[in-house]
Amino acid sequence: MTETNLAVRPTSPVPHRSRDAVGALFRIESVRLLRHPAVLTGVFFYLALWAYEWGTGALLHRYPILQDEDRYSQVPLLLIAAGAFVGSNLIATRAQRSGVASVTDLFALAPWLRTLAQLLMPLPLAVLSGLLVSVRIAHLAAMPGAVGQPSPLEMATGPLIVLLAGVAGVAVGRLTPMVSVSPLVILGMAVFTLVGTVTLSRPMLKWWGLVAIEDEFEPPLPADLMYRPVAMHLVYLAACAAVCCATALAQSGIRRRVGVTAVGVTTVLAAVAGAAQSVTLPEDIASRRTAAERQPSPQQVCQTVNVVTYCAFPDFEGRIGQWSKVADGVLRHTPPTATENRYVVRQRLLFGTASGGISLSPPLAAWAADDAQAGTPGSVPIGTKWGTDQIGGGAMLSFAGHFAARVVTGDPPTEETALSVCGSRAVVVLWLAATATEETAAALHSLLPRTGGSVVLPLLGSSLALSIGRQEVLMVRSLLDRPADQVSEQVIANWDELTRPETDTERAARLLGTRVQGAVAEGARC
């Protein structure tokens, strides 16, 4: 934060035309903004967060969905935007802070042209932010678990916010030379963003802010079923930047009438663009969503891996390899009779699970009709959530559980099938699910401390769930402590008896060479 004169460097020849002078000032100021400590700190924190995620291997287990990642890229860019605001504000107030404001009146270049050069100054930083976002998305797309397609409009939002922050810093600097105001403006924007994230019941509020954060408990969607007024939000942000430009120029000695008109027109524009960000779901997307929920088979692509056919929305086709690892892991510990069957796994969407909670029941009849029409009866549904975090890991374990239940019971998931997974069957299902992959084992281990000892595996977050009682969970935990191959041999040898609905937990314990621990939980449905 060293002090310099606003004038063009004395060593360079003084430009005669004002356009050249504005260009020269823009070049000097934009470089100064790029290397401003506040901007450098913002970029450093941005890169540090990214490097941490990369270094700890968290990115490798992220299973990124690119149509969501484009949106997530906006929030970390707020660090650079905050740096841009502070940096441009300090550059705009430099003359006043150094006590040389009156000297700058002697410059040949008109004050409004000097302000114009400063308003253009954040452009290179915005381009740099765009580059960072592109590299970030390319990095995520190169991950082995990445699926989907990013939206260029969502990717452009972050850099536009950086540009807006830069011009807003100049505008605030022109309104007041008090440097203590700019941190409060940033704090105000941060509070507004925070309010937008916690008032999800009022979805319109967040669109008036910089970034619109979605309810991340909602399952991810294929790109063509998503609806966010992104294009209008970009227009709104651009209009806000125009308001800042007009305000800064109006404060820099242009004719009063022109200044007031410009501020008025741009403010109206921003208000109209802000109000035009409609959050009401358009009719065609609503009908497409209904079709995708109830009859997704015509739009899905299917692939057969070993004995299982997987059908996914085109955006999620890359997930099939990951699903097959889990399904193969379940089938690895089953006898050849179980793998003689052919299985179908079909991706399903269920809307309203985040708001409706566990009371939402899946449209099983419609799904069965859809399967019958597609010639894939008895499919096991799988959602769009996938990952190793709390939510994604739970979804992964639930799929493994429902697939194992399909193998053990021979029936697709219904309320009756779920109720029939009791005693010995429950032990086998949970053990198969947990030993399917290292990630499902980790998911069970992270789930157990959060439950009262029993395990509930909901189907796509709905009310249809496999409930595994405390005794069975304790037995599975003791089985997981033993070598999987040893338990596998016993499971395969006693498969018929273990998977019979009437075999109880005690019998299963004897067959698997372990014993029943703990008491049956009160109110257990088995």
Partner: protein
């Protein structure tokens, strides 16, 4: 020493910047009073978030405490530099601590009576103290290595950027852990270490110049001549 502080206080108050303290104080109280004025019943996680926002606002208020354009002229006075700086800090920090306490009370009043006991006041006070100490440490470093009026200019963006970066950390490292999360206890250690570290930096940066070997001879000579 108390007499010296008593004599110094009005002059230091006059040469301190009041606008940041007043602006941040008003903003902090206004933010904390929002739920009460809107008759909104705050749940504990929201109350904790709001108290954290108040803590950041309060920390911004003390960022300009050490800015003193006249410090070059007062360096040669016989009064301990550390005492002058500590008095300056106290003049900003005491009102801001009161503002934080008022903010806490306002948020607490917006929490339903039966849930108030679950508000982790001690842990939140530790966070607020650590944020304030870090801001002052940043300002003290800036005042020492850069210009004497660059304390607030450096500390406020530093605090805001660091706070934003902290909120973006993954759950396993999150310093702003939820009061009911398993990370709450572990995250208190982070704040305690930050507080102690910031106090150490503050103490070592604000030590008296005459103790520096290189500056010792000159300072003593000036002091003697003034005395």
């Amino acid at each position: 020493m108390l007499t010296t502080v008593w004599l110094l206080a009005p002059h230091l108050a006059r040469s301190s910047r009041k606008a940041p303290v007043v602006l941040c104080g008003v903003l902090a109280v206004a933010l904390a009073a929002l739920p009460l004025t809107a008759s909104y019943q705050l749940e504990i996680p929201y109350a904790v978030t709001l108290i954290r926002v108040v803590a950041v606002t309060v920390a911004l208020g003390v960022a300009f405490a050490l800015d003193d354009s006249a410090s070059a002229t007062t360096r040669v006075t016989p009064t301990s530099r550390r005492l002058v700086h500590l008095t300056r800090i106290a003049l900003s920090a005491l009102p801001m601590v009161s503002v934080w306490a008022a903010g806490l009370l306002l948020c607490r009043m917006a929490v339903p009576a039966n849930a108030r006991q679950y508000l982790p006041v001690g842990g939140l006070a530790l966070e607020a103290a650590a944020l304030m100490a870090t801001t002052l440490a940043l300002a003290a470093v800036a005042v020492t290595v850069s210009a004497t009026t660059h304390g607030g200019l450096t500390a406020t963006p530093g605090l805001l950027l660091a706070t934003t970066a902290m909120t973006l950390l993954p759950d396993g490292l999150q310093p702003f852990a939820g009061p009911e999360s398993a990370r709450w206890e572990a995250s208190r250690w982070f704040w305690l270490i930050l507080l102690v570290g910031a106090m150490f930096v503050l103490g070592s940066v604000l030590r008296d110049a005459r103790r520096r070997p290189s500056a010792a001879a000159g300072t003593t000579a000036v002091n003697v001549s003034i005395a």
